[in-house]
């Protein structure tokens, strides 16, 4: 437990979690809320999660990375309402050497995007909102409020 956080993320804290005297490399990744998406100006967004499964899936991904590379992984994903520029996800990977650190860090973010049940609802400058859906044409689907049945 503890991969999801309703509070602002603190990248330095994750770096400290993966530091060890025998490690020479730390690779981190920060996913940050952008001010635009698919040509529309984003004013804010909200992440919803299927909490218990998201925690379990994050745990599995971290374990996979630590099994595949000699490394230690810290991972945190924000849930709830976020403002532009806030960190949505932070990954820190400590390792003996830089190649492993980079590869494991990349693995974790790619798997997270594929497998962890978290959903992003964006609000736009024109007052509309949409669910982000990488499988949809244009990358978003209007929310029920926008496309009433």
């Amino acid at each position: 437990m503890g991969y999801l956080s309703a509070e602002p993320l603190v990248p330095e804290a994750l770096v400290r979690e993966v530091e060890r005297p025998e490690y020479g490399a730390v690779s981190t990744f920060l996913g940050v809320v952008r001010d635009h998406h698919a040509g529309r100006r984003v004013t804010g967004l909200e992440y919803q999660a299927y909490g218990p499964m998201a925690e379990a899936e994050c745990h599995r991904i971290v374990a996979e990375a630590e099994r595949r590379w000699p490394c230690r992984v810290a991972l945190r994903h924000r849930v709830g309402a976020l403002a532009i520029g806030e960190a949505a996800v932070v990954i820190a990977v400590g390792s003996g050497h830089r190649a492993e650190a980079f590869e494991a860090c990349r693995y974790v973010i790619e798997e997270l995007k594929q497998r962890v049940p978290i959903w992003k609802r964006e609000s736009y400058a024109d007052g509309t909102e949409a669910w982000v859906d990488p499988t949809a044409p244009g990358g978003t689907v209007p929310t029920a409020r926008e496309a009433p049945r």
Partner: protein, 86 residues
């Protein structure tokens, strides 16, 4: 065909799926031998349900399951929209 409903399960809905169905959870009674796909079909027959894809991602016990997996009484499924974390 008369079916005796012997398979009570619960289906959780998330994000856009919860929105279009107007609820976050649905209790179903399915015929014995029902599969994950049958549960999806039952959900899609509810008001708003046709806005769900025919083969959405489904999880059981915090892991994804395939459509042809048979259900057990008391199963908790979750229908998962395409993920967009990160």
């Amino acid at each position: 065909m008369a079916t005796t409903s012997t398979l009570p399960i619960r289906v959780q809905l998330f994000a856009r799926y919860a929105e279009v169905l107007g609820r976050e959870s649905v209790a179903l009674n399915l015929p014995a031998g029902a599969t994950v796909a049958d549960a999806v079909t039952a959900i899609r027959s509810l008001p708003g349900g046709t806005l769900l894809p025919a083969r959405p991602l489904v999880a059981r016990a915090l892991e994804q399951v395939l459509p042809d997996v048979p259900l057990a009484a008391g199963d908790e499924l979750a229908l998962l929209p395409p993920m967009s974390g990160g």
